[in-house]
């Protein structure tokens, strides 16, 4: 048995996971219009390769990746490209982004795909390429391009592939459902990923509040006759943070500012493993994902497999939303999710949950009271930070002390704000402070740049002047030496010549 380590801090908010009936996967209807942002991942947006009016088939490439930190976008069904324009996207700041809008035709015609069944004999580099072409970005929430994660570089040798089936956020059951319904695909996908990484071992970690998923995955491992280790551990938020699950299962900590590959671990979401399996075995690109629709404002909370690009409003309608006068729709979970500002925004590769709570279910915070330094936040912090010190320094905009107290090691899990008796929106202070620090760093970079440019220009001008001077001096020296050779004074001669010319031009009196 693996030793399960404890992480510092953590909280036990009400889980409310049964509400969305994990394990019972429904299909969301294909909406009349799909809105596909060209950036559903972390990195450079994809470049549209279709034009307005084009007919597209399911699985067809709509936008291609631009560079390494980018993944393509594919059509989740057949239809016509109705527009390529800026549309509201699901973003914490309510931004718009370029989207490919598809008028679906309801026929759901698909391209034929060809998989790589002999993947064990295939060059890992080719498999990584296939994963990139399939448009796979981490489905856990960050949307990091999977192909990049699978290329940790020759300097890092990967020992363990870790499938993170923690899903510690309250309410969300998308991974739980996926692990229950697609356990065999998960196991095969894990093998493919381990093959690509040449990882020695595969470890699947699941919190002990998901007995059904644990049983199904265990059965799938047995069926595959695989040597995959399934580890379960006590439920606590935020055990599912990448750094946290690594400490829980290995006792090791990812170095500050580093990545798990630095300690020989690559950590992926189960959804990503299943998408990999589909991309390699079936040759199918990532066009759908499982989304938890939950909250007491929904009459029919459930888990659905939905087309990427489905407008949020369609899914809420499907789950029978009876909205309050002031309805909060949360993209993600109650701890780290953000409130959606436009229901026409679509779901993307990172949408694991849409939460529609009632006001009594998740009451709005009371007005913040003064910090009484009780220290509950420091006890809850999974990163062992001192949240209240960070709060004071954030308020004072003391960037030096914020760095000293390691603001950037904050994972914004919200545990501190959850336990705060004064209801201070601590995470919001940290986000703002991080933004300010990034801004001032950028400002500094800019001013450094312009100073360097100015200095370079100054140096160039000086060099040019010096060169001119040198040339002039050389000419002068040459002329003088010429004159010395001829025995005449060139300046005197020039004056003579000028006088003669003047005399010629002046009319005679």
């Amino acid at each position: 048995m693996r030793t399960i380590h404890d992480i510092h801090g953590g909280i036990h908010p009400p889980e409310r996971k049964a509400l969305s009936r994990p394990g019972d996967l429904q299909r969301a209807p294909i909406p009349p219009v799909l809105v596909l942002p060209v950036r559903q991942h972390l990195g450079v947006p994809a470049l549209p390769v279709v034009a307005v009016g084009d007919t597209v088939m399911g699985g067809q490439l709509l936008a291609e990746a631009q560079g390494v930190m980018s993944v393509p976008v594919h059509a989740p069904t057949s239809g016509t490209v109705a527009a390529i324009e800026s549309r509201p996207i699901a973003h914490a700041s309510g931004l718009t982004d370029q989207c490919i809008v598809i008028q679906t035709d309801g026929d759901d015609h698909w391209l034929a795909f060809e998989g790589i069944t002999s993947w064990r004999e295939t060059d890992p580099a080719r498999l990584v390429e296939r994963i990139r072409e399939a448009g796979i970005a981490g489905l856990g929430g960050a949307g990091f391009p999977t192909a990049v994660k699978l290329s940790p570089g020759p300097a890092r040798s990967i020992e363990t592939l870790l499938i993170n089936g923690t899903e510690c956020e309250p309410y969300i059951t998308a991974d739980d459902t996926l692990m229950q319904c697609r356990a065999d695909e998960l196991v095969e996908g894990a093998h493919i990923l381990a093959h690509i990484l040449s990882a020695d071992s595969i470890l699947i970690g699941i919190e002990d509040n998901k007995p059904d998923a644990i049983a199904r995955v265990q059965a799938a491992i047995s069926r595959a006759g695989a040597t995959i280790e399934l580890a379960t551990f006590p439920t606590k938020y935020p055990s599912g943070g990448e750094k946290q699950i690594i400490e829980i299962l290995t006792g090791q900590q990812v170095p500050s500012g580093g990545i798990p590959a630095d300690i020989g671990i690559v950590c992926v979401n189960p959804g990503t493993a299943v998408a990999t399996q589909q991309a390699i075995i079936d040759g199918k690109p990532l066009t759908h994902r499982i989304v938890t629709l939950t909250g007491e404002a929904l009459a029919a909370p459930q888990n659905v497999s939905a087309c990427l690009g489905t407008p949020i409003t369609q899914l809420l309608e499907h789950a029978a939303l009876s909205a309050e006068a002031q309805q909060r729709i949360i993209h993600g979970g109650p701890m780290m999710g953000f409130a959606v500002s436009d229901l026409n925004a679509p779901i993307t590769k990172i949408t694991n949950c849409l939460l529609a709570p009632t006001a009594t279910e998740l009451p709005l915070p009371e007005p913040a009271q003064p910090c009484i330094r009780c220290g509950h936040c420091a006890e809850a912090c999974p990163a062992s930070l001192l949240p209240q010190q960070l709060y004071w320094y954030a308020r004072a905009k003391d960037q030096e002390q914020l760095a000293e107290h390691r603001l950037f090691d904050c994972i914004e899990c919200g545990a501190c704000a959850y336990v705060c008796p004064s209801q201070i929106p601590l995470v919001q202070y940290y986000r703002a402070a991080k933004g300010q620090i990034r801004d001032s760093e950028q400002e500094k970079r800019r001013s450094d740049n312009s100073r360097e440019r100015f200095e370079a220009r100054q140096a160039r001008l000086e060099a040019e002047t010096a060169a001119r001077e040198a040339k002039r001096a050389a000419r002068k020296a040459a002329a003088q030496s010429q004159a010395a050779k001829n025995g005449s004074d060139p300046i005197q001669e020039a004056i003579e010549r000028a006088k003669a010319r003047k005399a010629e031009q002046e009319p005679n009196p």
Binding site: E247, S256, A339, C371, G375, H376, A378, L386, Y418, C420
Partner: protein
């Protein structure tokens, strides 16, 4: 439908400043009851009268500062400050002593720094120390316990408080006073000669300390504060007393048990040094904070001029708290070997 836009997290725990303060008030009840049982209703009068003055002062100041005074009152923090100070004051203290103490605590201890959360010093201890230095006679007139003399009734108590001097106060030296004034007796003989010193901490005092210990354990159970500061303080005080106890000569400072269960020891450990605002912030810091207070209490009790030492020790360590914080930052995830 209009969409509500707020930032994460979208849920929060049950904790509130008001419930924290309420629990602290509730936890003082056993101690207050035992004080009343042994020393009469003086402490109760202190608490009620002092509480009224404190609430009125806080209300007025918050109104002057342009804040909603009802919000400030409703978090109950002002009642915690006044109750803790009034428990520390001698029962049957004259009314003006209470008024001066409360005004000092609320104005100089708390509000001049910006109110709740901003005070670098424990406000109750600020009030106490100002009184102790300014009015040593009144402050050292502690009531004599039931069993030695008659304890005054409510009417007499009120007369003591609001018409001081009209009747004779019944005061006695506290066990810590006796120890302080002792010059020639062995500790054992002192115990036999002084009826006040019966029991581990003296008549009444042992029980009072036990009651505050019980309240403190309940607060620990309620997770109002962590064990670090109180346990460190008690351990350091006990350790110092063990080292300083030479078997009971007249020079001796009293046994460890005597120090732990006499005077304001338990009250300080669980109600005074656990004030989060003015203490160190990390658990490691609170260990240092508590231990230094324990050691200082012992040193001032045995070597200083005052019989008890809690207020001075706490204020001195309040000064040191930011310094302690600086050197006791916890190891952040990923910056070294994990904490065991």
């Amino acid at each position: 439908m209009s969409l509500l836009r707020v930032t994460s997290p979208h849920t929060s725990g049950q904790g509130q400043v008001m419930t924290v303060m309420r629990d602290v008030l509730v936890a003082t009840l056993p101690g207050v009851l035992i004080l009343t049982a042994y020393f009469g209703p003086g402490t109760l009068i202190n608490i009620v009268f002092g509480g009224l003055i404190a609430v009125a002062t806080e209300y007025a100041i918050m109104a002057l500062r342009g804040r909603d005074p009802r919000v400030a009152i409703s978090d109950l923090s002002i009642l915690v400050t006044s109750t803790l100070l009034c428990i520390a004051l001698p029962p049957y203290a004259p009314w003006w002593l209470i008024v001066i103490g409360i005004l000092t605590a609320v104005l100089l201890g708390k509000q001049v720094f910006g109110g709740l959360g901003y005070n670098p010093f424990n406000p109750a201890m600020v009030g106490y120390v100002v009184l102790l230095i300014s009015f040593p006679v009144q402050m050292s007139a502690w009531a004599s316990p039931r069993g030695l003399t008659e304890v005054p009734g409510l009417a007499d108590t009120l007369r003591h408080v609001f018409a001081p001097g009209t009747i004779d106060a019944v005061t006695a030296a506290t066990p810590l006073d006796l120890l302080r004034q002792n010059t020639g007796l062995l500790f054992e003989d002192l115990l036999t000669n002084s009826p006040e010193l019966t029991g581990w901490g003296g008549i009444g005092w042992f029980e009072v300390n036990l009651a505050f210990l019980a309240g403190g354990v309940w607060l620990l159970y309620r997770r109002i504060f962590t064990w670090h500061a109180p346990i460190a303080m008690l351990a350091a005080l006990g350790a110092c007393a063990l080292i300083g106890y030479d078997g009971g000569s007249s020079e001796s400072g009293g046994s460890a048990l005597f120090h732990l269960f006499s005077g304001a020891t338990m009250f300080a450990a669980f109600f005074i040094i656990t004030d989060p605002v003015s203490s160190a912030v990390s658990n490691k810091g609170r260990l240092v904070f508590g231990a230094l207070i324990g050691a200082l209490i012992y040193l001032i009790r045995t070597l200083g001029n005052y019989p008890d030492a809690v207020a001075f020790a706490v204020l001195i360590l309040n000064f040191c708290a930011p310094f302690i914080d600086h050197y006791t930052q916890p190891k952040v995830y990923g910056t070294g070997s994990p904490e065991s």
